[in-house]
C-alpha cells in the first residue's frame, strides 16, 4: 500500500531459517516443594525467555514469558505458587507464537518436576500425578492462577495412558535388559490447554488486540447448496470438513452439499482468524448458531407450504416434515428464489442468508487436556534415542470429527518430537547461524515419528455450542516433556540426568561424560 504497486515476497529456506522467527528458548530455575508422599505443596520458579531483537507485534516479545507465569501450575493443585518471568532481548531473530505457545516449555518444566517428586517420594510417575491432579468432582475448577478449568477427568487420562502403554511390562523389560544393550525408559506428561479464550481473558492481559464475537455467514443457494462463510482459515485443520459437519448436524444437509469458504475478507466476514485453538469452538459455534437460525426460517416456510402450523412440523434429514408430506431444503430454496408467490405473507424478509456472531457462554476458554506416555530406547554409547511406543489419551470435549482430531494430535506430536530430539537453532560464538539448511536443522520424518496410538475421552465443555473444545495445538505440548522424562528414566540408573532440549546424541554423550568425569573415572565405553 505504501508502494502503490504489487509486491511479491520471495524467501528461500536459508533466509527462512536464519532470519525468520524463532521461539521456545526458555530457561527455568524451578523448585517444587512436596510432602514425603508426593503431594505437591508449592512451586517456585524464575523463568526467562529469549525474545530476540524485536517485537514483531506490539506485544509478541512478551507473549511467551507472560504466559509462562500463568500456566506453569498446569493441571495440578498446589497451595503456594510464585513465578517471576523475564523476556530477554537478544540479538537473534524475534520470537513469534508457534503451536502450543509457551506451553511446550512450561509442560517440560512442570512435568520434569513431577518426575523429580516421584523419584524423591519413591513412587511411580503416574502416582505423583494422581496425587496432585485436579479431580473430576472438583470441576469446574479455578486453579491457583485463576484459570477456570471447564471440565474433564484428568486422573482418568493418566490411568488410561498407563494402562495402554502397559507400564508393568515396560518395568519388567527394563529389569530384564535389552539384547542390544540399549536402555529402556518410560516417561509421561499431562497438561491442559486453554483454547478459544475470549474477550475477558485478552482484555485482562491489557493487549491492544482483543478478540470478540466470532462471525459466520451461511446461505442457502437456489440449487440447495449451503454456503458457509467464516473468517477463520484452515491451514491443514480440515475445517472444510468440520464446519460442514456442524451444518449437517443442525440441518441434516449432506456435507457434499455444503461449500465452505474461509478466511478472505473479500467474501467472508472479518475475524481475528485462526489461532489459540479457537476455530472449532468459535467459528464452529457461529456456524451452528447460524444454521439453527436458518432452520427456524426454513421451518416457517416449510410449514406454510405443507399447510400445517409450525409447531406441528418437525425437521428431519434436511426437510420439514408434516403429518402427510415433506418439503426438502432444495424445494424451500427453490420457493424462496424462484416461486416467491408461494411464500407465507409474514415470511422473514432476511431470507435464506443468515449472518451471526458467536460468543461462548463463558469466555474463559475450553480446557482440553492430554496425557502422553512414551517408551524410548537410549543407545548410551551413541546417545541416540528411539521412540518405541507412544500413547496419547486426549480429551477435546465432544469431537466433531475424531479422524480430524487424530490428524491434529499426531501432527502436533510430530512437532513435539522435533522439539524433544532434533530441532535447534544454534549460533557460533560470533553469531553465525549454524543451521541454515534442513541438513543442519533436523526435522523428524517418517522414520522418526512412530505410529502414535491415540485414545479419545469426550468430556463436553459446559460452555460451548456442542461441548467441543479446542485441541489444535495440544499434540505439540506434551511430547518434549514425556520424551525427556523417558530418556531420564532410562539414564537414571547411570546417574545421568538431561535437563535441556533437544536431546541430541551429543547432549547425551556429553552428559554421560560429565558424570563419568565427576565419578573420577577415566572416560571409557564398556562393551
Amino acid at each position: 500500500m505504501h508502494l502503490e504497486r504489487p509486491v511479491r515476497w520471495l524467501e528461500d529456506r536459508r533466509e527462512q531459517l536464519s532470519a525468520n522467527a524463532n521461539c521456545r528458548e526458555h530457561d527455568y530455575n524451578i523448585t517444587a516443594y512436596a510432602e514425603r508422599d508426593g503431594r505437591l505443596l508449592a512451586v517456585e520458579c524464575e523463568a526467562s525467555v529469549d525474545s530476540g531483537a524485536y517485537s514483531s507485534y506490539p506485544f509478541s516479545a512478551c507473549l511467551e514469558a507472560a504466559q509462562v507465569g500463568s500456566i506453569l501450575p498446569g493441571p495440578y493443585k498446589m497451595d503456594r505458587y510464585q513465578c517471576r518471568t523475564w523476556s530477554v532481548a537478544t540479538n537473534k531473530p524475534p520470537i513469534l507464537p508457534y503451536r502450543g505457545v509457551a506451553r511446550t516449555g512450561v509442560c517440560y518444566a512442570i512435568e520434569t518436576m513431577l518426575d523429580a517428586i516421584a523419584v524423591a517420594a519413591g513412587i511411580e510417575p503416574y502416582e505423583a500425578r494422581l496425587r496432585n491432579l485436579v479431580e473430576p468432582h472438583e470441576m469446574p475448577y479455578d486453579n491457583i492462577t485463576k484459570k477456570h478449568f471447564d471440565s474433564g477427568d484428568y486422573p482418568e487420562a493418566v490411568r488410561r495412558a498407563v494402562r495402554s502403554i502397559d507400564l508393568p511390562a515396560v518395568r519388567a523389560r527394563q529389569q530384564h535388559g535389552e539384547p542390544d544393550g540399549r536402555r529402556i525408559g518410560f516417561g509421561m506428561a499431562i497438561f491442559c490447554e486453554q483454547g478459544a479464550h475470549g474477550t475477558s481473558v485478552y482484555h485482562g492481559w491489557g493487549i491492544p488486540m482483543v478478540p470478540g464475537y466470532e462471525p459466520a455467514v451461511i446461505r442457502l443457494t437456489p440449487d440447495g447448496i449451503l454456503e458457509v462463510r467464516a473468517g477463520v482459515h484452515s491451514h491443514g485443520q480440515s475445517m472444510e470438513t468440520t464446519l460442514a459437519q456442524i451444518a449437517h448436524e443442525v440441518l441434516g444437509i449432506d456435507t457434499d452439499h455444503v461449500r465452505v469458504v474461509l478466511g478472505d475478507t473479500g467474501v467472508t466476514p472479518y475475524s481475528t482468524g485462526t489461532w489459540g485453538s479457537r476455530s472449532i469452538v468459535m467459528a464452529g459455534g457461529a456456524v451452528g448458531q447460524a444454521a439453527r437460525e436458518l432452520k427456524e426460517r426454513l421451518m416457517k416456510i416449510g410449514a406454510w407450504l405443507l399447510m400445517e402450523p409450525v409447531d406441528a412440523v418437525r425437521w428431519e434429514d434436511g426437510a420439514v416434515v408434516g403429518a402427510q408430506s415433506r418439503r426438502t431444503l432444495e424445494e424451500i430454496a427453490h420457493t424462496w428464489y424462484r416461486a416467491p408467490q408461494l411464500l407465507p405473507p409474514d415470511v422473514d424478509p432476511r431470507g435464506l442468508e443468515v449472518s451471526t456472531s458467536y460468543h461462548a457462554r463463558r469466555d474463559t476458554g475450553t480446557f482440553s487436556y492430554a496425557c502422553h506416555a512414551v517408551v524410548v530406547a537410549v543407545d548410551t554409547e551413541l546417545g541416540q534415542t528411539e521412540i518405541l511406543d507412544y500413547v496419547i489419551v486426549e480429551d477435546g470435549g465432544v469431537l466433531i470429527n475424531p479422524m480430524v482430531v487424530d490428524g491434529q494430535v499426531t501432527g502436533g506430536a510430530a512437532q513435539g518430537i522435533g522439539t524433544a530430539l532434533y530441532e535447534a537453532m544454534p549460533y557460533s560464538d560470533d553469531g553465525q547461524p549454524l543451521a541454515s539448511t534442513l541438513a543442519d536443522y533436523l526435522l523428524p520424518g517418517a522414520t522418526e515419528v512412530p505410529a502414535i496410538r491415540i485414545e479419545h475421552m469426550e468430556t463436553p465443555s459446559p460452555y460451548t455450542e456442542f461441548g467441543q473444545k479446542g485441541i489444535g495445538e495440544s499434540g505439540a505440548i506434551g511430547s518434549p516433556a514425556a520424551i525427556a522424562n523417558a530418556v531420564n528414566d532410562a539414564l537414571r540408573p547411570l546417574g545421568v540426568e538431561i535437563s535441556e532440549l533437544p536431546i541430541s546424541p551429543r547432549v547425551v554423550i556429553e552428559a554421560m561424560a560429565r558424570v563419568r568425569a565427576a565419578a573420577g573415572e577415566r572416560s571409557k565405553v564398556t562393551a
Binding site: E381, L382, Q384, T437, A439, G445, T447, I509, V525, A527
Partner: protein
Amino acid sequence: MKAASFDYAKPLDSLDAMRLVTPTDGMAKFVSGSQSLGPMMNLRLAQPGMLVDLRGIPALRECKVDGYDITLGACITHAEIEDGKVPDPTEGLMPHVARGIAYRAVRNRGTLGGSLAHADPAADWINTLRALDAEFLVASPGGERVVPGADWMAGAFTTALEADEILSAVRIRRLSPTARWSYYKFNRKPGEFAEAIAVFIDDSANRVCRAVIGALDGPPHLIANARDLIDTQGRDMALLDAHLDDAGLASGTYEYQVHRVALMRAAQIIREHGRNPQ
C-alpha cells in the same frame, strides 16, 4: 532460491567434455547426478558459469570384468549398485552401502563418480572405496592416468583431480567368496550424512585385512592391518583409542566417542556375523 544462471552442455565423449571446460577458465564444472552440486547451486554457494553434464558419455557408464579387477564407470548410480544392475566386486558390501545412501530419490540420480569427485568426508563411497583400496581412473586432456586410492582424497572436498580432468571409472580388486566385511554408519536420521563411519574388509585369500575410520574432517583413515581389532571384537579400548588417536580425533570429545563406537560395532559385526546381516 534457485541457481544463478549458467550455461549447460551435454557432450557425448570425455574429450569433448574436457575441451568445453578448458577454455572457460575455471568457471565450468562437470556434473553427473547433481545431488550435491545442485543443492549448493540452489543455495548459491556454488555459481559455475557452465555445467558440463557427463551423463551423455556412454564410456562413463561402462563396467568391465577383467580377471580379478572390476571397473565401474563413474556415471553408475547408487541405485544401480543397490539393485545389482552392475557387477559387484565386493561380495555384497557395495549394494549394502548403496542401500544406506541418503534416500532412494537421491540414489536414483546420484552417481558413484560424482560422490567420489565431490569428496565429502562424511559420504559413503569415499570411505568404502578407501577400504577396498580402489584405484581411480582419470581422463586427462593429455591421456589417461591412474590415481591410487591413498592419493585420491587430499582433504575435505579436495581430490587429485585437476579442474579439467574427469573421473571416468574406479577399479576394484574382487573380494574372494570367503571374504568377510562389515560397515557401520552412525547418523542422526536415516538418509542424513554420517557422523561416523567404520568399514572392515577381511579377505584372507587375498591377504587383506583392512579397516577405515571415516566421516572425519579430512580423508578416510586407513588401518592397513585390522586383524587385532577384529580378533578383540573391538573390546580392547587401548587398541581402539590408538587407532582413533592416529586418525586425528581428539580424545574426550563427542566425535571421538561416536567414531570409537562405530569402529567397535563394525569390528563386532565382522567378528560375530562375518558380514552385516541383510
